[in-house]
C-alpha cells in the first residue's frame, strides 16, 4: 500500500516512495488477475461425434444440462398476451394452496394492476403467495402496488438488490419467468408483466411472445427451479406435498426443465443451445430477440448447414428494444448468410419469444436469449419438450410469423453501408455484457 509522506503545505500533493508505488501496482494487478480469473468466461468448445438421428442425443443433452427427462406431461401453447394473461389470471384465481411467480420484468400499466390485485386477493383468502422479482427488472414497477401486495400478505423477494457486500453479484440477475400453482400446474414463458406484452402482437406497442402451460410430473421440476432462488433470497425451504405433490401422468409429452445460474462454470443453457445445434440432423428453427452468436456458436451453426441441416433464424427487425443488441448480432451475419443459414427479420412488432425447434421432435421455450448475458451471466429457466405434435404447433406459429418477415440476403447484406458496419462492430465489442 502506498505510504504517504507528510504532505507539503498546499496539501494537494503527496510524496510516495518508489517501493510503495511498486507495491501498490503489484497488489492492484494481483487483485485484478484474481478477479478476472474468476469472472472470465470459461470457454467450452464442444465436440460432438456424428449421429444417426437427433433422438439419440436427447439423453446426453438432458444429462449434461442437469435436467432429467420426465414422461407423461401435457402442454398447452400460449401465444402473445391474449393467450397468456387470461390463463395466468385464471390460474391465480383457481389456486387453493399456493401461487408462486418469478419474473424479471415488472413495469407499469393496467395489466400490472390486474396481476397485483389477483395475487393480493389470493393472499387475503389465505393462499400462500410468493413472488420473486428481479431488483433491477422490477425497478420501474409501481411501489404502491408492491406495498399493496405486501400488506395483503404476498411474500415478495427482491432478487439481488444493490448491496455493497453483494457487489460481485450485482451483474447476476434472474431473468427467469415461471409460475407454479398448487404445485400442480406451471407456466414457463418469455412475457414480462407489462403493458407491452398484452394484446396479440398487432402493432409495435404489443409484442410477440410465447409461453407454455404444463401439467404432469415436470411441474415438480419447475417448482424446484422457483424454490432455488426463493431459498437463496428468503432462506425458506419449500418442503412437503403441498409444494411437491406426487404428480400422475396427464399426457404423453416428455419434458425436461433446464435452469442455469452460471457464475464461474459452464452454463447449462449455453451447453443446451450448443448441444442442440451440434446434434440437429434435419431442421433447426431459432426464434430469438437477442441473437448475438459468438464465434463458437456461429461455427456450430455453419457446421450444421454443412451436415445438411436446414437452419432458420428469426430475429426482430426495425422494432427492437435494443438497437445495440441488433447491431451486435449483425456482426456475424455475413458469415452466417454466406454459409447458408437463413435469417429473417420480423417486421410487425418486437418478436420477444425464445423458441427453438429441432428436427420436428424437440422444442424449447423459455426465458433464454441467444447472447452472452443469458448464456453466461443471468439465471434463466427454459423447458425442453419432446413431442412431435407440440413441435408441429410451434412450427405452424413460426410459419405464420414468417409472413411478416423480411429475409436477409447475403449479396445485399454486404452492401449495408460503412456507418451501419461500424455500428455493428462497436456493438459487438461490448457483446459479453449485452
Amino acid at each position: 500500500m502506498a505510504k504517504a509522506a507528510r504532505p507539503r503545505k498546499p496539501a494537494r500533493f503527496l510524496q510516495v516512495t518508489y517501493t510503495a508505488a511498486g507495491l501498490y501496482l503489484v497488489v492492484l494487478l494481483s487483485l485484478a488477475l484474481l478477479l478476472w480469473s474468476i469472472l472470465r468466461e470459461r470457454e467450452s468448445h464442444v465436440r460432438v461425434p456424428d449421429l444417426a438421428d437427433f433422438e439419440q442425443a436427447l439423453p446426453s443433452i438432458a444429462g449434461l444440462t442437469g435436467s432429467p427427462i420426465l414422461a407423461g406431461n401435457s402442454v398447452e401453447i400460449l401465444q402473445d398476451g391474449d393467450g397468456f394473461f387470461p390463463v395466468l389470471l385464471d390460474e391465480i384465481a383457481r389456486a387453493t394452496e399456493s401461487v408462486h411467480l418469478e419474473t424479471y420484468v415488472w413495469w407499469k400499466g393496467e395489466i400490472c394492476v390486474q396481476v397485483a390485485r389477483a395475487l393480493a386477493d389470493k393472499a387475503k383468502q389465505g393462499v400462500e403467495v410468493r413472488l420473486t422479482l428481479d431488483a433491477i427488472g422490477s425497478n420501474e414497477g409501481d411501489n404502491d402496488l408492491f406495498e399493496m401486495m405486501g400488506d395483503a400478505g404476498v411474500k415478495i423477494a427482491h432478487y439481488h438488490p444493490f448491496e455493497l457486500r453483494d457487489l460481485g453479484l450485482f451483474n447476476n440477475r434472474t431473468h427467469r419467468k415461471i409460475a407454479i400453482f398448487d404445485g400442480r400446474e406451471a407456466l414457463v414463458f418469455g412475457h414480462g408483466i407489462a403493458e407491452e406484452w398484452t394484446g396479440h402482437a398487432q402493432d409495435r406497442d404489443h409484442w410477440r411472445d410465447t409461453g407454455v402451460r404444463l401439467t404432469g410430473p415436470i411441474v415438480n421440476a419447475v417448482q424446484a427451479v422457483f424454490a432455488e432462488n426463493w431459498v437463496e433470497t428468503t432462506e425458506e425451504v419449500l418442503v412437503g406435498e403441498k409444494y411437491f405433490p406426487a404428480l400422475p401422468a396427464t399426457g404423453s409429452v416428455r419434458a425436461h426443465m433446464t435452469a442455469s445460474s452460471p457464475q464461474g462454470g459452464v452454463s447449462q443453457l449455453e451447453l443446451l443451445y450448443k448441444l442442440a445445434i451440434a446434434t440437429a440432423q434435419k431442421e433447426l428453427i431459432v426464434q430469438n430477440p437477442y441473437f448475438i452468436p459468438d464465434g463458437e456458436l456461429t461455427g456450430l451453426l455453419e457446421r450444421a448447414v454443412e451436415r445438411g441441416v436446414d437452419v432458420q433464424v428469426m430475429i426482430p427487425g426495425p422494432v427492437t428494444d435494443s438497437e445495440i443488441v441488433r447491431h451486435a448480432g449483425h456482426r456475424q451475419f455475413q458469415d452466417l448468410l454466406e454459409s447458408g443459414v437463413h435469417i429473417c427479420e420480423y417486421q410487425k412488432t418486437l418478436s420477444h419469444q425464445k423458441v427453438m425447434i429441432v428436427d420436428g421432435i424437440w422444442s424449447h421455450v423459455g426465458s433464454t436469449n441467444f447472447d452472452d448475458r443469458s448464456l453466461d451471466i443471468n439465471d434463466e429457466a427454459s423447458v425442453g419438450l419432446i413431442d412431435e405434435e407440440v413441435a408441429a404447433r410451434l412450427r405452424a406459429a413460426y410459419e405464420k410469423d414468417l409472413k411478416d418477415c423480411k429475409k436477409l440476403d447475403a449479396a445485399t447484406w454486404d452492401e449495408r453501408g460503412a456507418w451501419h458496419k461500424l455500428k455493428d462492430r462497436l456493438s459487438y465489442m461490448i457483446n459479453e455484457q449485452l
Binding site: M1, Q15, S44, S60, R165, N172, N220, L275
Partner: protein, 366 residues
C-alpha cells in the same frame, strides 16, 4: 521519492478497495440458513429434497455395498476387466503404491484392446501420482484429463477441486465411493495404515445419472460431448431401490449438497446416523441437530478418533461437540483406523453414500 496529486492517491486507494470488495463479495461464503417446517414423516420430504437439490428420484435400481479396500478394489478391477465399450473413472486422490500401478495397468490394458478409457483426475489430488504411470496410460490410449490444472489464468479456480469419486462401465454399471487410489485404502480397516471406507456398486436407471455427473467435468476440461447409447443406454430396472444422484459444484449460490444434508437433518423423524471423517459443524447444523433431538430423533455420529489424516479438522470439528453432547447427540470415536466413509442413514429408509464430507470445503467449494 515521487510526487503525486492527492486525488490520484485517493483514486489508488479506492481502486484497491473496489477490487477487494468485489473479490470478497464473490468469494465470501454466503450465509445460508434453512427454515424447514415440521413434517409427519421423512418420506414426505423426499420429493422436496430431490426437487430442491436437482436430483430426480429414479426407481428400479440395485445397489451392492462395498466395504473397505478388500471388497472395493477386487470389484473395481473385475469391472475394468469385464467392460466391453467404455470405462469412465473420476477421482481426487491418486497417490502411489502397488495398487496404483495395478489400477493403471488395468486401464492401460483395456485401452490397448480398443476400449474407450476416460480418466478425470484432480490436478492437486494427483500431484503425488508417478509420472511414468501417467505416460504409460496415455501411450496405451487412455484419455486422461487433469481437473483444474494449476495455471495462472485459472488462479481463481485453484481452490475448486473435484472430490468426486466415480466409475462407470459401458454406461451400465456405476461405482460411487469414498476410496482414493492409494495403498492406505487397501485391507479391511484393520489398522492405522488401512482405512475404513464404503462404496456402492449400482445398476439400473440411476447409472445414467452417474454418467451425467462424469460427463459434466469431462466436457468442462476437454469439450468432448459424450453422446449416444454407448454412454447413455436405455436402462431396464435392475432392482427395487429408489435412488437419486447429487453433484455439488458450488461457487456463488447454495450448494445442493449442503442443502441436502441440512434438509435431511431437518426432516429426519426417528433416527439419524452419520459417519464422516471430516465433521465440522457450523452453528446452523448444530441447531438443526438439537431441534431433531427435541423432535425425538435418535442421533448417532461417528467420527475418527486418534487416527486421522488431518488433526486440524479433528480439532475444528470438536468445537461444538460438548454442546451437541449436552443436547443428547451421541458421538463415537472410531479408534481402529481412519474412518474415511461418508454415510448418512435416516429413519432406516434413506441412506446416502459418496464423497461428501460434512465440512465447508465439500459443501461450498468442491
Amino acid at each position: 521519492m515521487m510526487t503525486i496529486p492527492i486525488w490520484l492517491f485517493v483514486l489508488m486507494l479506492l481502486s484497491i478497495a473496489l477490487l477487494g470488495t468485489m473479490l470478497w463479495t464473490l468469494l465470501r461464503e454466503r450465509d445460508f440458513r434453512v427454515r424447514v417446517p415440521d413434517l409427519d414423516s421423512f418420506e414426505e420430504a423426499l420429493p422436496s429434497i430431490a426437487g430442491m437439490t436437482n436430483a430426480a428420484i429414479l426407481p428400479g435400481n440395485r445397489a451392492e455395498i462395498l466395504q473397505n479396500g478388500d471388497e472395493f478394489f477386487p470389484a473395481l478391477l473385475e469391472s475394468i476387466a469385464e467392460a466391453k465399450v467404455s470405462i469412465h473413472f473420476e477421482t481426487y486422490v491418486w497417490w502411489s503404491g502397488d495398487i496404483c500401478d495395478q489400477v493403471a495397468r488395468a486401464f492401460a490394458a483395456r485401452a490397448r484392446e480398443g476400449l474407450e478409457v476416460r480418466l478425470t483426475i484432480d490436478a492437486l489430488g494427483s500431484q503425488k501420482m508417478s509420472k511414468e504411470l501417467r505416460v504409460m496410460m496415455k501411450e496405451a490410449g487412455c484419455k486422461l484429463s487433469l481437473y483444474h490444472p494449476i495455471r495462472l489464468t485459472d488462479l481463481g479456480q485453484l481452490n475448486k477441486r473435484t472430490h468426486r469419486k466415480l466409475a462407470i462401465f459401458d454406461g451400465k454399471v456405476a461405482y460411487v465411493f469414498g476410496h482414493g487410489i492409494s495403498k492406505l485404502w487397501l485391507g479391511h480397516g484393520q489398522d492405522k495404515d488401512h482405512w475404513r471406507d464404503t462404496g456402492v456398486r449400482l445398476r439400473g436407471p440411476v447409472v445414467n445419472g452417474v454418467q451425467s455427473v462424469f460427463a459434466q467435468h469431462w466436457i468442462e476440461e476437454t469439450g468432448e460431448v459424450l453422446v449416444g447409447e454407448k454412454y447413455f443406454p436405455a436402462l431396464e430396472p435392475a432392482g427395487d431401490i429408489r435412488m437419486h444422484v447429487l453433484s455439488g459444484a458450488p461457487l456463488g449460490g447454495v450448494s445442493d449438497l449442503e442443502l441436502l444434508f441440512k434438509m435431511a437433518i431437518a426432516t429426519a423423524q426417528k433416527e439419524l446416523i452419520i459417519q464422516n471423517p471430516y465433521f465440522i459443524s457450523d452453528p446452523e447444523t448444530v441447531s438443526l441437530l438439537k431441534r431433531a433431538i427435541k423432535r425425538g430423533v435418535e442421533i448417532k455420529i461417528m467420527v475418527p478418533g486418534k487416527i486421522t489424516d488431518s488433526p486440524i479438522v479433528s480439532r475444528a470439528g470438536q468445537i461444538h461437540f460438548s454442546e451437541m453432547l449436552n443436547a443428547g447427540v451421541r458421538i463415537f470415536h472410531f479408534e481402529k483406523t481412519l474412518i474415511h466413509q461418508k454415510i448418512v442413514v435416516i429413519d432406516g429408509v434413506w441412506s446416502h453414500v459418496g464423497s461428501t464430507n460434512l465440512d465447508d470445503r465439500s459443501f461450498d467449494i468442491n
